[in-house]
């Protein structure tokens, strides 16, 4: 059995907004149970505004107002012991960041300081995490790291604007991998890139994962990217995980009606058959419908769907789905 590296238990993080006296609650992550193993690439897919980025923020343990932890727990497994990271102090939190768990953001232009050469960025980064290093030593470390990942050496002397978008994104990924973290979290790391560049960036991500044997949790709405990199995929809809299975399984036998729509709407080469898109539009997280949040768009809606949300049902050892078509779920009725 694989080693668990990260686990959440009924994780609930909401945005609590105060709008002119009245309170607004945006249920961005609503009772999410995740179990993620060592040495795997875990993909999370869903439409924009379904809470994917918020879920990543929570997993990174960066829950800052207006985002609040409303319920549930997040566990990291550090050296074989499970630690509830929601209750640790800010200093410990800071220590874990980038060394144990690191974050790859989407827009690489806004990550790198535009007025510093990349070697200064590297120096800042290394300086704040590794104590007692001389300037020369950090520079050497940075250079070695850059070369290991097959990036040109002279980029350390360049300013961010001198690099192409793909190169900048690869430098950002390199930085996130510098301290050999056990978990790397990627928030749409390839979305703003061209297809050929995207392929290069994905190549780099996969290489790093192979070398470090760590875990990558990757969010993107591009099912093609998921098919290429992920070992397991979770489908997220309106703040909830609705299906989770190994990649091949998701593409061959999607069970949840939403997943089916998602897979069937993808155009393929050599197939010009008419493809529909998911009918309707995604619900607002501030005003969710009762019961299963997908029921207004679902073609199989029944009375029960409008009243309560189903729990997970296992249709296979590694395949679970939250839909009334497949039963009540192993935990009985969820809220």
């Amino acid at each position: 059995m694989e080693q668990i590296i990260l686990r959440t238990e009924k994780l609930k993080t909401f945005y609590l907004l105060d709008m002119q006296g009245s309170q607004k609650v945006v249920k961005a992550v609503n009772e999410v149970d995740l179990t993620i193993y060592e040495n795997e690439i875990y993909g999370i897919a869903g439409e924009s505004g379904c809470g994917k980025t918020t879920l990543l923020k929570a997993l990174f343990n960066a829950i800052d107002p207006p985002l609040r932890l409303v319920g549930g727990k997040i566990f990291y497994v550090i050296n074989g012991t499970e630690v509830d990271v929601t209750s640790i102090n800010p200093e410990e939190k800071r220590k874990l960041r980038m060394e144990y768990i690191s974050y790859i953001p989407q827009g690489s232009m806004s990550v790198l300081n535009p007025v510093l050469k990349l070697k200064e960025t590297y120096r800042d980064f290394i300086g704040s995490h590794v104590r007692g290093q001389s300037r020369e030593a950090t520079f050497e470390l940075a250079q070695k790291h850059i070369l290991e990942l097959g990036l040109p050496k002279n980029i350390l002397e360049a300013y961010p604007h001198q690099l192409s978008g793909g190169m900048r994104q690869r430098v950002t990924i390199a930085l996130a991998a510098l301290l050999k973290p056990r978990i790397m979290i990627g928030d749409e790391p390839t979305t703003a890139l061209d297809v050929v560049v995207q392929r290069g960036v994905i190549q780099l991500l996969k290489e790093i994962q192979k070398k470090l044997k760590n875990t990558i949790i990757m969010v993107t709405h591009d099912m093609g990217v998921h098919a290429n990199v992920a070992n397991r995929i979770a489908i997220m809809y309106a703040g909830k995980i609705v299906e989770e299975a190994p990649t091949q399984q998701i593409f061959d036998h999607p069970e949840h009606p939403y997943t089916q729509f998602l897979i069937n709407s993808l155009p393929k080469f050599g197939d010009k058959n008419v493809r529909g898109s998911v009918p309707g539009s995604p619900p607002s997280l501030a005003d969710l419908p009762d019961g299963c949040p997908f029921h207004p768009r679902c073609p199989h809606t029944r009375e029960i769907c409008k009243q309560s949300m189903p729990g997970f049902t296992r249709t296979d050892t590694h395949h679970k789905v939250a839909c009334w078509l497949f039963g009540e779920g192993e935990n009985g009725k969820a809220a």
């Binding site: 192409s164 050929v196 560049v197």
Partner: protein, 324 residues
């Protein structure tokens, strides 16, 4: 053959840098193509290949350095932007920046109706608007009095298409219309283009980097690379049997939604965009797996192989070999 739009030897240069160190970049380099009525024609390529510049020049937003653009037999000139009256409309990438967030969306429609004198009174105007909205699958009731932020990206993009349809255009120029729309709603936009072509005889110049939707929707396609059209022909031939090495690279780089078709080989990424533009000879020579000596010095000519136009020295050779 009737040609709705003809672009002949279009060139657009930009100058970059300061006064002293000025370099000229040819964003669009002598490209020619045409569009037939009721046809979806795709211009595809990566960012910085000149596809958006082409659209801007065709729409008259930018002036061409040289070359001619003919709309329906009429030459477009500086004084007379024929496209305004000749039924050309445009759709842009980000629907949220198309509409002013502080105005209700229906005011744009009413303005367009007034400007083009499409209706005599308010009741007629609403009828005209309702008809176009129905074509994109939105009803007047769910649309009137709402601000742009009250719609999803997919809905708003369909609304901007409905606005473009108000004047009954013959040609729609769509610049990356789906790249900001969620994958799950993308097909609703692309299917709409098919419907417009089949039911209303509208031609669409579909500008995109997404070859998968391009294959799905278009009749003919042109692949652009650093200002040149490197391959042009029917979508079936160009994408299923790519001849130019760049087209092949582009097609193979699309992540296929099939876990069994993962990439196994590695790619070389481009040097800086800028350097590729300034390259002598074939602009793809720096990354091409089949590069020859002549590619680095000579600009390849347009060669027609099985009705497909290809711009590559490799086919020059085979043609020469056949003649021998």
């Amino acid at each position: 053959m009737e040609k709705l739009l003809e672009v002949d030897q279009l060139t657009k240069e930009y100058s970059m840098g300061s006064l002293i160190a000025k370099t000229r970049i040819t964003a669009v380099d002598h490209i020619s193509f045409f569009m037939k009525p009721a046809e979806i024609f795709t211009l595809a390529g990566e960012s910085g290949c000149g596809k958006t510049t082409t659209a801007k020049v065709v729409l008259g937003f930018e002036e061409a350095t040289s070359g001619a653009i003919t709309h329906n037999g009429k030459l477009q000139s500086k004084k007379e932007k024929v496209w305004i009256t000749e039924g050309v409309q445009a759709i842009f990438q980000d629907p949220f920046s198309t509409f002013n967030p502080l105005r209700t969306v229906d005011r744009y429609f009413i303005e367009t109706v007034e400007n083009y004198k499409l209706a005599g009174n308010k009741k007629e105007a609403i009828e005209v608007i309702d008809l176009k909205l129905k074509a994109v699958g939105i009803s007047y009731r769910e649309f009137s009095g709402k601000y742009p932020n009250e719609f999803s990206g997919g809905q708003l993009q369909r609304i901007s298409i409905a606005r473009a349809l108000l004047t009954d255009p013959k040609l729609l120029i769509a610049d990356e219309p789906v790249s900001m729309v969620d994958a799950s709603l993308r097909m609703s936009i692309v299917n709409l283009f098919k419907k417009l072509r089949d039911d209303f005889g509208v031609s669409v110049l579909y500008i995109t980097h997404d070859l998968a939707t391009a294959y799905y929707v278009s009749d003919r396609i042109a692949i652009m690379f650093r200002g040149n059209i490197v391959e042009m022909g029917s979508v079936e031939q160009v994408l299923m049997n790519p001849r130019h090495p760049y087209t092949r690279l582009l097609r193979d780089s699309i992540p296929q939604a099939d876990p069994q078709k993962r990439w196994t080989d590695t790619v070389t990424l481009s040097e800086l965009e800028h350097d590729e533009y300034l390259r002598q000879g074939c602009k793809f020579a720096g990354r091409c797996p089949l590069v020859m000596e002549m590619c680095k010095t000579q600009i390849p000519a347009d060669i027609t192989v099985d009705d497909v136009l290809v711009r590559c020295h490799k086919y020059n050779e085979t043609e020469a070999a056949q003649r021998r």
